[in-house]
Protein backbone atom coordinates (compact mmCIF):
# COMPACT_ATOMS: atom_id res chain seq x y z
CA UNK A 1 0.00 0.00 0.00
CA UNK A 2 2.80 2.38 0.84
CA UNK A 3 4.40 1.56 -2.46
CA UNK A 4 1.23 2.36 -4.38
CA UNK A 5 0.52 5.60 -2.56
CA UNK A 6 4.06 6.92 -2.63
CA UNK A 7 4.24 6.18 -6.34
CA UNK A 8 0.94 7.98 -6.82
CA UNK A 9 2.33 11.01 -4.98
CA UNK A 10 5.47 11.30 -7.06
CA UNK A 11 3.54 10.68 -10.27
CA UNK A 12 1.25 13.53 -9.32
CA UNK A 13 4.13 15.83 -8.47
CA UNK A 14 5.93 15.02 -11.68
CA UNK A 15 2.80 15.68 -13.70
CA UNK A 16 1.79 18.90 -12.06
CA UNK A 17 5.24 20.40 -12.61
CA UNK A 18 5.15 19.70 -16.30
CA UNK A 19 5.38 22.91 -18.29
CA UNK A 20 2.81 21.69 -20.79
CA UNK A 21 0.20 21.75 -18.06
CA UNK A 22 0.83 25.40 -17.52
CA UNK A 23 0.33 26.08 -21.20
CA UNK A 24 -2.92 24.17 -21.25
CA UNK A 25 -4.22 26.09 -18.27
CA UNK A 26 -3.41 29.41 -19.90
CA UNK A 27 -5.26 28.30 -22.99
CA UNK A 28 -8.26 27.32 -20.89
CA UNK A 29 -8.30 30.66 -19.11
CA UNK A 30 -8.23 32.47 -22.41
CA UNK A 31 -11.09 30.34 -23.62
CA UNK A 32 -13.12 31.24 -20.56
CA UNK A 33 -12.49 34.92 -21.18
CA UNK A 34 -13.56 34.38 -24.76
CA UNK A 35 -16.77 32.77 -23.55
CA UNK A 36 -17.86 35.97 -21.89
CA UNK A 37 -17.19 37.91 -25.09
CA UNK A 38 -18.85 35.32 -27.31
CA UNK A 39 -22.08 35.40 -25.38
CA UNK A 40 -22.60 38.97 -26.48
CA UNK A 41 -23.05 37.62 -30.02
CA UNK A 42 -26.23 35.90 -29.00
CA UNK A 43 -29.58 37.28 -28.13
CA UNK A 44 -31.33 34.68 -26.04
CA UNK A 45 -30.37 31.61 -24.03
CA UNK A 46 -27.14 33.29 -23.07
CA UNK A 47 -26.47 31.38 -19.89
CA UNK A 48 -27.11 28.16 -21.72
CA UNK A 49 -24.47 28.99 -24.27
CA UNK A 50 -22.01 30.18 -21.65
CA UNK A 51 -22.41 26.94 -19.72
CA UNK A 52 -22.04 24.90 -22.86
CA UNK A 53 -18.88 26.68 -23.95
CA UNK A 54 -17.38 26.54 -20.46
CA UNK A 55 -17.91 22.82 -20.20
CA UNK A 56 -16.52 22.29 -23.67
CA UNK A 57 -13.40 24.20 -22.69
CA UNK A 58 -12.89 22.11 -19.57
CA UNK A 59 -13.43 18.93 -21.52
CA UNK A 60 -11.05 19.89 -24.29
CA UNK A 61 -8.27 21.16 -22.03
CA UNK A 62 -8.64 18.12 -19.82
CA UNK A 63 -8.40 15.87 -22.82
CA UNK A 64 -5.23 17.54 -24.07
CA UNK A 65 -3.70 17.33 -20.67
CA UNK A 66 -4.54 13.71 -20.09
CA UNK A 67 -3.47 12.58 -23.51
CA UNK A 68 -0.21 14.45 -23.78
CA UNK A 69 0.95 14.47 -20.23
CA UNK A 70 -0.38 11.00 -19.53
CA UNK A 71 1.41 9.41 -22.45
CA UNK A 72 4.49 11.48 -21.68
CA UNK A 73 4.72 10.28 -18.10
CA UNK A 74 4.19 6.67 -19.00
CA UNK A 75 6.49 6.73 -22.00
CA UNK A 76 9.27 8.31 -19.96
CA UNK A 77 9.20 5.25 -17.78
CA UNK A 78 9.60 2.96 -20.71
CA UNK A 79 11.69 4.94 -23.20
CA UNK A 80 13.94 6.60 -20.73
CA UNK A 81 14.16 3.78 -18.29
CA UNK A 82 12.90 5.75 -15.33
CA UNK A 83 10.89 2.68 -14.51
CA UNK A 84 14.00 1.14 -12.95
CA UNK A 85 13.72 3.67 -10.19
CA UNK A 86 10.36 2.17 -9.26
CA UNK A 87 10.69 -1.49 -10.12
CA UNK A 88 13.91 -1.85 -8.13
CA UNK A 89 11.85 -1.13 -5.00
CA UNK A 90 9.83 -3.92 -3.37
CA UNK A 91 6.91 -2.98 -5.59
CA UNK A 92 5.17 -5.48 -7.85
CA UNK A 93 4.25 -4.78 -11.47
CA UNK A 94 0.59 -4.64 -10.56
CA UNK A 95 1.31 -2.16 -7.77
CA UNK A 96 3.25 -0.07 -10.26
CA UNK A 97 0.25 0.13 -12.57
CA UNK A 98 -2.16 0.95 -9.77
CA UNK A 99 0.18 3.56 -8.30
CA UNK A 100 0.73 5.30 -11.64
CA UNK A 101 -2.98 5.21 -12.35
CA UNK A 102 -3.87 6.76 -9.02
CA UNK A 103 -1.27 9.46 -9.49
CA UNK A 104 -2.61 10.37 -12.92
CA UNK A 105 -6.15 10.31 -11.56
CA UNK A 106 -5.20 12.76 -8.83
CA UNK A 107 -3.69 14.92 -11.51
CA UNK A 108 -6.81 14.80 -13.65
CA UNK A 109 -9.11 15.38 -10.68
CA UNK A 110 -7.11 18.33 -9.39
CA UNK A 111 -6.96 19.97 -12.80
CA UNK A 112 -10.65 19.54 -13.46
CA UNK A 113 -11.55 20.79 -10.00
CA UNK A 114 -9.47 23.88 -10.65
CA UNK A 115 -10.87 24.44 -14.13
CA UNK A 116 -14.37 23.65 -12.96
CA UNK A 117 -14.32 26.36 -10.34
CA UNK A 118 -12.79 28.92 -12.69
CA UNK A 119 -15.28 28.01 -15.40
CA UNK A 120 -18.20 28.87 -13.22
CA UNK A 121 -17.06 32.50 -13.27
CA UNK A 122 -17.99 33.27 -16.88
CA UNK A 123 -21.28 31.47 -16.38
CA UNK A 124 -21.94 33.47 -13.25
CA UNK A 125 -20.98 36.75 -14.89
CA UNK A 126 -23.22 36.05 -17.86
CA UNK A 127 -26.01 35.13 -15.48
CA UNK A 128 -25.86 38.45 -13.71
CA UNK A 129 -26.71 40.35 -16.82
CA UNK A 130 -29.46 38.07 -18.01
CA UNK A 131 -31.66 36.99 -15.17
CA UNK A 132 -34.28 35.36 -17.36
CA UNK A 133 -31.80 32.98 -18.81
CA UNK A 134 -30.47 32.25 -15.35
CA UNK A 135 -33.83 31.19 -14.04
CA UNK A 136 -33.75 27.77 -15.63
CA UNK A 137 -30.07 27.15 -14.86
CA UNK A 138 -29.17 24.59 -12.23
CA UNK A 139 -25.75 24.66 -10.57
CA UNK A 140 -26.16 21.10 -9.29
CA UNK A 141 -26.36 19.64 -12.73
CA UNK A 142 -23.52 21.88 -13.86
CA UNK A 143 -21.17 20.51 -11.25
CA UNK A 144 -22.27 16.96 -11.86
CA UNK A 145 -21.38 17.59 -15.49
CA UNK A 146 -17.93 18.76 -14.37
CA UNK A 147 -17.58 15.66 -12.23
CA UNK A 148 -18.47 13.48 -15.17
CA UNK A 149 -15.83 15.19 -17.27
CA UNK A 150 -13.33 14.19 -14.61
CA UNK A 151 -14.61 10.62 -14.68
CA UNK A 152 -14.34 10.53 -18.45
CA UNK A 153 -10.75 11.72 -18.28
CA UNK A 154 -9.84 9.15 -15.69
CA UNK A 155 -11.33 6.50 -17.91
CA UNK A 156 -9.13 7.71 -20.74
CA UNK A 157 -6.15 7.53 -18.38
CA UNK A 158 -6.95 3.90 -17.76
CA UNK A 159 -7.03 3.35 -21.52
CA UNK A 160 -3.65 5.03 -21.88
CA UNK A 161 -2.28 2.74 -19.19
CA UNK A 162 -3.58 -0.27 -21.01
CA UNK A 163 -2.02 0.72 -24.33
CA UNK A 164 1.26 1.65 -22.66
CA UNK A 165 1.45 -1.76 -21.06
CA UNK A 166 0.99 -3.40 -24.45
CA UNK A 167 3.03 -1.27 -26.85
CA UNK A 168 6.62 -0.23 -26.60
CA UNK A 169 6.47 3.24 -28.10
CA UNK A 170 4.78 6.23 -26.57
CA UNK A 171 3.72 7.44 -30.00
CA UNK A 172 1.76 4.28 -30.74
CA UNK A 173 -0.03 4.39 -27.41
CA UNK A 174 -0.87 8.05 -28.08
CA UNK A 175 -2.42 7.26 -31.45
CA UNK A 176 -4.32 4.27 -30.10
CA UNK A 177 -5.70 6.31 -27.23
CA UNK A 178 -6.89 9.02 -29.60
CA UNK A 179 -8.52 6.32 -31.70
CA UNK A 180 -10.32 4.94 -28.66
CA UNK A 181 -11.44 8.46 -27.76
CA UNK A 182 -12.93 9.08 -31.19
CA UNK A 183 -14.58 5.68 -31.33
CA UNK A 184 -15.86 5.96 -27.79
CA UNK A 185 -17.37 9.37 -28.49
CA UNK A 186 -19.32 8.14 -31.47
CA UNK A 187 -20.13 4.48 -30.89
CA UNK A 188 -23.41 5.18 -29.12
CA UNK A 189 -24.65 7.46 -31.88
CA UNK A 190 -23.70 5.00 -34.60
CA UNK A 191 -25.45 2.19 -32.82
CA UNK A 192 -28.43 4.53 -32.61
CA UNK A 193 -28.44 4.90 -36.39
CA UNK A 194 -28.35 1.13 -36.63
CA UNK A 195 -31.25 0.65 -34.24
CA UNK A 196 -33.44 3.13 -36.03
CA UNK A 197 -32.84 1.76 -39.49
CA UNK A 198 -32.48 5.12 -41.16
CA UNK A 199 -33.86 5.16 -44.69
CA UNK A 200 -31.39 4.68 -47.44
CA UNK A 201 -28.65 3.31 -45.19
CA UNK A 202 -27.55 -0.11 -46.38
CA UNK A 203 -26.01 -1.97 -43.52
CA UNK A 204 -24.68 -5.43 -44.14
CA UNK A 205 -24.92 -8.06 -41.39
CA UNK A 206 -21.15 -7.90 -41.02
CA UNK A 207 -21.29 -4.18 -40.35
CA UNK A 208 -24.10 -4.70 -37.86
CA UNK A 209 -21.98 -7.19 -35.96
CA UNK A 210 -18.98 -4.86 -36.03
CA UNK A 211 -20.99 -1.87 -34.83
CA UNK A 212 -22.46 -3.90 -31.99
CA UNK A 213 -19.04 -5.21 -30.93
CA UNK A 214 -17.59 -1.75 -30.97
CA UNK A 215 -20.48 -0.50 -28.88
CA UNK A 216 -19.92 -3.08 -26.15
CA UNK A 217 -16.15 -3.19 -26.14
CA UNK A 218 -15.18 0.43 -26.55
CA UNK A 219 -16.12 2.78 -23.74
CA UNK A 220 -19.32 4.75 -24.12
CA UNK A 221 -17.95 8.25 -23.66
CA UNK A 222 -21.16 10.03 -24.63
CA UNK A 223 -22.64 8.85 -21.34
CA UNK A 224 -20.28 11.22 -19.57
CA UNK A 225 -21.16 14.21 -21.70
CA UNK A 226 -23.76 16.13 -19.76
CA UNK A 227 -23.21 19.49 -21.42
CA UNK A 228 -26.74 19.68 -22.82
CA UNK A 229 -28.36 18.75 -19.57
CA UNK A 230 -26.26 21.25 -17.66
CA UNK A 231 -26.78 23.99 -20.23
CA UNK A 232 -30.53 23.56 -20.16
CA UNK A 233 -30.85 22.99 -16.45
CA UNK A 234 -32.34 19.53 -16.93
CA UNK A 235 -32.06 17.33 -13.92
CA UNK A 236 -30.92 13.80 -14.46
CA UNK A 237 -33.10 10.75 -14.30
CA UNK A 238 -33.06 8.87 -11.06
CA UNK A 239 -30.28 6.37 -10.87
CA UNK A 240 -28.42 7.77 -13.84
CA UNK A 241 -25.45 8.88 -11.80
CA UNK A 242 -25.40 5.58 -9.95
CA UNK A 243 -25.44 3.25 -12.93
CA UNK A 244 -23.11 5.32 -15.02
CA UNK A 245 -20.64 5.46 -12.14
CA UNK A 246 -20.86 1.71 -11.77
CA UNK A 247 -20.19 1.34 -15.45
CA UNK A 248 -17.19 3.62 -15.01
CA UNK A 249 -15.83 1.65 -12.05
CA UNK A 250 -16.03 -1.64 -13.87
CA UNK A 251 -14.62 -0.39 -17.14
CA UNK A 252 -11.69 1.28 -15.40
CA UNK A 253 -11.11 -1.85 -13.33
CA UNK A 254 -11.00 -3.94 -16.49
CA UNK A 255 -8.47 -1.61 -18.10
CA UNK A 256 -6.25 -1.41 -15.03
CA UNK A 257 -6.25 -5.12 -14.30
CA UNK A 258 -5.60 -5.91 -17.95
CA UNK A 259 -2.72 -3.44 -17.89
CA UNK A 260 -1.38 -5.06 -14.72
CA UNK A 261 -1.61 -8.46 -16.34
CA UNK A 262 0.26 -7.29 -19.42
CA UNK A 263 2.85 -5.54 -17.32
CA UNK A 264 3.62 -8.68 -15.35
CA UNK A 265 4.68 -10.43 -18.48
CA UNK A 266 6.85 -7.62 -19.77
CA UNK A 267 10.60 -7.43 -19.58
CA UNK A 268 12.80 -4.39 -19.23
CA UNK A 269 16.19 -5.24 -20.70
Amino acid sequence: MNGILSLAVITFKEGIRNRALFGIFIMALLAFALTVIMTSLFMRDIVRIAASLSLTTISFSGLLMVIFIGTNLLSKDIDKRTIYMVLSRPVSRAEYIVGKFLGLCFLAAASIAFLGIISSIPVFITGIGYQNSMAIFNWNVYFIAVLFIALKLMLIVSVIMFWSSVTSTSFISLILTIAVYIIGSTNEVVKGFLDQKIEGMNITPLMTAVIKCVYYIFPNLSAFDLKLQAANGLSLAHGYVLWTSLYWVLYVAIMVSAAALMMERREFP
Binding site: S6, L7, I10, K13, S88, S92, E267
Partner: protein, 248 residues
Protein backbone atom coordinates in the same frame (compact mmCIF):
# COMPACT_ATOMS: atom_id res chain seq x y z
CA UNK B 1 24.48 -20.89 2.55
CA UNK B 2 25.31 -18.41 -0.17
CA UNK B 3 23.33 -15.19 -0.08
CA UNK B 4 23.05 -14.86 -3.84
CA UNK B 5 22.64 -18.03 -5.81
CA UNK B 6 22.57 -18.06 -9.59
CA UNK B 7 21.90 -21.55 -10.85
CA UNK B 8 22.37 -22.57 -14.51
CA UNK B 9 20.78 -19.41 -15.76
CA UNK B 10 20.39 -18.89 -19.49
CA UNK B 11 18.85 -15.92 -21.19
CA UNK B 12 17.94 -15.83 -24.82
CA UNK B 13 16.71 -12.63 -26.42
CA UNK B 14 14.54 -12.92 -29.45
CA UNK B 15 14.11 -9.79 -31.46
CA UNK B 16 10.53 -8.96 -32.45
CA UNK B 17 9.46 -9.89 -35.95
CA UNK B 18 12.60 -11.84 -36.65
CA UNK B 19 13.92 -15.28 -35.94
CA UNK B 20 17.28 -13.97 -34.89
CA UNK B 21 18.12 -15.14 -31.39
CA UNK B 22 20.76 -13.73 -29.12
CA UNK B 23 22.12 -15.91 -26.37
CA UNK B 24 23.00 -13.33 -23.76
CA UNK B 25 23.81 -15.81 -21.02
CA UNK B 26 24.75 -19.44 -21.35
CA UNK B 27 24.07 -21.50 -18.28
CA UNK B 28 25.64 -19.22 -15.73
CA UNK B 29 26.25 -20.60 -12.25
CA UNK B 30 27.55 -18.33 -9.55
CA UNK B 31 27.42 -17.91 -5.77
CA UNK B 32 28.01 -14.89 -3.62
CA UNK B 33 28.41 -15.21 0.11
CA UNK B 34 27.27 -12.80 2.76
CA UNK B 35 29.65 -9.96 3.41
CA UNK B 36 31.54 -10.53 0.17
CA UNK B 37 32.49 -7.84 -2.27
CA UNK B 38 32.11 -9.49 -5.63
CA UNK B 39 33.30 -8.04 -8.92
CA UNK B 40 31.87 -8.80 -12.30
CA UNK B 41 33.93 -8.03 -15.34
CA UNK B 42 33.89 -8.61 -19.03
CA UNK B 43 33.88 -6.85 -22.36
CA UNK B 44 30.88 -4.89 -23.52
CA UNK B 45 27.99 -7.13 -24.41
CA UNK B 46 29.28 -9.98 -22.28
CA UNK B 47 26.07 -10.23 -20.29
CA UNK B 48 26.95 -8.35 -17.14
CA UNK B 49 23.99 -5.99 -17.19
CA UNK B 50 21.77 -8.87 -18.21
CA UNK B 51 22.80 -10.82 -15.14
CA UNK B 52 22.18 -7.87 -12.90
CA UNK B 53 18.75 -7.21 -14.37
CA UNK B 54 17.86 -10.84 -13.91
CA UNK B 55 18.67 -10.47 -10.25
CA UNK B 56 16.32 -7.51 -10.03
CA UNK B 57 13.52 -9.38 -11.81
CA UNK B 58 13.50 -6.75 -14.53
CA UNK B 59 13.89 -9.60 -16.97
CA UNK B 60 13.15 -13.29 -16.48
CA UNK B 61 15.54 -16.18 -17.15
CA UNK B 62 14.87 -18.43 -20.12
CA UNK B 63 15.99 -21.30 -17.88
CA UNK B 64 17.55 -21.70 -14.48
CA UNK B 65 16.82 -19.91 -11.22
CA UNK B 66 18.14 -17.00 -9.26
CA UNK B 67 17.58 -16.72 -5.54
CA UNK B 68 18.58 -14.30 -2.87
CA UNK B 69 18.53 -15.30 0.78
CA UNK B 70 16.78 -18.50 -0.20
CA UNK B 71 13.90 -16.76 -1.96
CA UNK B 72 13.33 -16.65 -5.69
CA UNK B 73 14.09 -13.18 -7.07
CA UNK B 74 10.57 -12.92 -8.52
CA UNK B 75 9.24 -12.23 -5.03
CA UNK B 76 9.04 -8.56 -4.35
CA UNK B 77 10.20 -8.83 -0.74
CA UNK B 78 13.63 -9.80 -2.05
CA UNK B 79 14.03 -6.25 -3.30
CA UNK B 80 13.62 -4.93 0.23
CA UNK B 81 17.09 -6.27 0.86
CA UNK B 82 18.62 -4.91 -2.33
CA UNK B 83 19.90 -1.48 -3.19
CA UNK B 84 20.26 -1.13 -6.96
CA UNK B 85 22.11 1.43 -9.01
CA UNK B 86 21.55 1.09 -12.78
CA UNK B 87 24.21 1.95 -15.31
CA UNK B 88 22.83 5.32 -16.39
CA UNK B 89 20.26 6.22 -13.83
CA UNK B 90 17.25 8.25 -14.93
CA UNK B 91 14.84 9.77 -12.52
CA UNK B 92 11.69 11.80 -12.78
CA UNK B 93 13.08 15.16 -13.82
CA UNK B 94 10.97 17.43 -11.72
CA UNK B 95 11.43 15.67 -8.42
CA UNK B 96 14.03 16.84 -5.94
CA UNK B 97 16.54 14.49 -4.32
CA UNK B 98 14.62 14.79 -1.09
CA UNK B 99 11.37 13.70 -2.75
CA UNK B 100 13.15 10.88 -4.52
CA UNK B 101 14.48 9.54 -1.25
CA UNK B 102 11.10 9.97 0.37
CA UNK B 103 9.68 7.71 -2.32
CA UNK B 104 12.54 5.26 -1.89
CA UNK B 105 11.90 5.03 1.83
CA UNK B 106 8.11 4.97 1.72
CA UNK B 107 8.04 2.19 -0.85
CA UNK B 108 10.07 0.12 1.64
CA UNK B 109 7.64 0.90 4.44
CA UNK B 110 9.99 3.11 6.37
CA UNK B 111 8.54 5.57 8.87
CA UNK B 112 8.63 9.25 7.97
CA UNK B 113 10.98 10.12 10.81
CA UNK B 114 13.43 7.42 9.80
CA UNK B 115 13.29 8.59 6.19
CA UNK B 116 13.91 12.17 7.24
CA UNK B 117 16.90 11.29 9.35
CA UNK B 118 18.47 8.94 6.84
CA UNK B 119 17.88 11.40 4.01
CA UNK B 120 19.86 14.09 5.73
CA UNK B 121 22.72 11.85 6.74
CA UNK B 122 23.03 10.21 3.30
CA UNK B 123 22.85 13.45 1.38
CA UNK B 124 25.43 14.94 3.70
CA UNK B 125 27.80 12.05 3.14
CA UNK B 126 27.31 12.26 -0.59
CA UNK B 127 27.61 16.03 -0.63
CA UNK B 128 24.18 16.65 -2.09
CA UNK B 129 22.77 18.60 0.83
CA UNK B 130 22.85 21.93 -0.96
CA UNK B 131 21.05 20.56 -3.99
CA UNK B 132 18.56 18.66 -1.91
CA UNK B 133 15.49 20.61 -2.89
CA UNK B 134 16.43 21.35 -6.49
CA UNK B 135 14.87 19.31 -9.30
CA UNK B 136 16.93 16.39 -10.50
CA UNK B 137 17.11 17.73 -14.02
CA UNK B 138 19.41 20.47 -12.78
CA UNK B 139 21.95 17.97 -11.49
CA UNK B 140 25.25 17.20 -13.16
CA UNK B 141 26.05 13.63 -14.11
CA UNK B 142 28.09 13.09 -10.99
CA UNK B 143 25.28 14.44 -8.85
CA UNK B 144 22.77 12.16 -10.52
CA UNK B 145 24.99 9.19 -9.84
CA UNK B 146 25.29 10.16 -6.22
CA UNK B 147 21.53 10.66 -5.95
CA UNK B 148 21.15 7.17 -7.36
CA UNK B 149 23.46 5.83 -4.69
CA UNK B 150 21.44 7.59 -2.03
CA UNK B 151 18.30 5.97 -3.39
CA UNK B 152 20.03 2.60 -3.29
CA UNK B 153 21.02 3.13 0.33
CA UNK B 154 18.05 4.89 1.87
CA UNK B 155 16.47 1.69 3.12
CA UNK B 156 19.65 0.30 4.58
CA UNK B 157 19.74 -2.80 2.36
CA UNK B 158 22.04 -5.69 3.15
CA UNK B 159 22.91 -6.22 -0.52
CA UNK B 160 24.14 -3.62 -2.98
CA UNK B 161 23.95 -4.36 -6.68
CA UNK B 162 25.74 -1.71 -8.72
CA UNK B 163 25.94 -1.69 -12.51
CA UNK B 164 29.08 0.17 -13.60
CA UNK B 165 28.97 2.58 -10.64
CA UNK B 166 32.02 4.53 -11.81
CA UNK B 167 30.93 5.09 -15.38
CA UNK B 168 31.08 8.67 -16.52
CA UNK B 169 32.36 10.04 -13.23
CA UNK B 170 35.24 12.44 -12.84
CA UNK B 171 38.18 11.36 -10.63
CA UNK B 172 36.63 13.00 -7.56
CA UNK B 173 33.41 11.14 -8.14
CA UNK B 174 35.20 7.85 -8.61
CA UNK B 175 37.08 8.34 -5.41
CA UNK B 176 33.82 8.92 -3.56
CA UNK B 177 32.27 5.73 -4.86
CA UNK B 178 35.41 3.79 -4.11
CA UNK B 179 35.41 4.97 -0.53
CA UNK B 180 31.73 4.23 -0.22
CA UNK B 181 32.17 0.64 -1.29
CA UNK B 182 34.99 0.22 1.20
CA UNK B 183 32.78 1.62 3.93
CA UNK B 184 29.96 -0.75 3.03
CA UNK B 185 32.39 -3.63 3.14
CA UNK B 186 33.41 -2.66 6.62
CA UNK B 187 29.76 -2.57 7.63
CA UNK B 188 29.46 -6.18 6.54
CA UNK B 189 27.22 -5.52 3.53
CA UNK B 190 27.34 -7.71 0.47
CA UNK B 191 28.32 -5.78 -2.64
CA UNK B 192 27.98 -7.06 -6.18
CA UNK B 193 29.18 -4.72 -8.88
CA UNK B 194 30.23 -4.77 -12.48
CA UNK B 195 32.98 -2.60 -13.77
CA UNK B 196 35.45 -2.00 -16.56
CA UNK B 197 37.99 -0.54 -14.25
CA UNK B 198 40.05 -3.61 -13.44
CA UNK B 199 42.24 -1.70 -11.06
CA UNK B 200 39.30 -0.96 -8.77
CA UNK B 201 38.17 -4.55 -8.83
CA UNK B 202 41.64 -5.63 -7.84
CA UNK B 203 41.64 -3.34 -4.88
CA UNK B 204 38.07 -3.78 -3.67
CA UNK B 205 36.89 -7.27 -4.41
CA UNK B 206 37.24 -10.50 -2.57
CA UNK B 207 36.32 -12.50 -5.59
CA UNK B 208 35.68 -11.66 -9.21
CA UNK B 209 34.15 -13.38 -12.22
CA UNK B 210 35.10 -12.86 -15.84
CA UNK B 211 32.23 -13.11 -18.25
CA UNK B 212 32.85 -13.37 -21.98
CA UNK B 213 30.16 -13.92 -24.62
CA UNK B 214 27.63 -14.93 -21.99
CA UNK B 215 29.74 -17.59 -20.33
CA UNK B 216 31.59 -17.53 -17.08
CA UNK B 217 35.18 -18.23 -18.11
CA UNK B 218 37.04 -17.68 -14.89
CA UNK B 219 36.28 -17.23 -11.24
CA UNK B 220 39.08 -15.62 -9.36
CA UNK B 221 39.76 -15.21 -5.67
CA UNK B 222 41.45 -11.87 -6.07
CA UNK B 223 43.61 -11.99 -2.99
CA UNK B 224 44.69 -15.55 -3.27
CA UNK B 225 44.46 -16.74 -6.81
CA UNK B 226 46.33 -14.07 -8.69
CA UNK B 227 49.67 -15.57 -9.60
CA UNK B 228 52.49 -13.45 -8.31
CA UNK B 229 53.53 -10.72 -10.64
CA UNK B 230 50.43 -10.90 -12.80
CA UNK B 231 47.85 -8.18 -12.55
CA UNK B 232 44.18 -8.77 -13.02
CA UNK B 233 44.46 -6.96 -16.32
CA UNK B 234 46.84 -9.48 -17.67
CA UNK B 235 44.68 -12.37 -16.55
CA UNK B 236 41.70 -10.70 -18.15
CA UNK B 237 43.32 -10.26 -21.55
CA UNK B 238 44.54 -13.85 -21.40
CA UNK B 239 40.99 -15.05 -21.01
CA UNK B 240 39.77 -12.87 -23.83
CA UNK B 241 42.44 -14.32 -26.10
CA UNK B 242 41.51 -17.82 -25.08
CA UNK B 243 37.89 -17.31 -25.91
CA UNK B 244 38.86 -16.41 -29.41
CA UNK B 245 38.26 -12.72 -29.27
CA UNK B 246 35.11 -10.77 -28.75
CA UNK B 247 31.68 -11.44 -30.11
CA UNK B 248 29.95 -8.87 -32.24
Amino acid sequence: MPLIKIDSVSKVFKREFSNKKIEALKSLTLDVSEGEVFGFLGPNGAGKSTTIKLMLNLIRPTSGTLSIDGKNVSEKRVRRMIGYLPENPFFYDHLSAKELLWFGGKSCDLADSVIEQRTYSLLRDLELIDAMKRPLRSYSKGMVQRAGLALALIHDPSILILDEPMSGLDPMGRKKVFELILKLKEEGKTVFFSSHILHDIERLCDRAAILINGSLVRLINVQKDLPSGKTLEEVFFEEVERSGGLRE
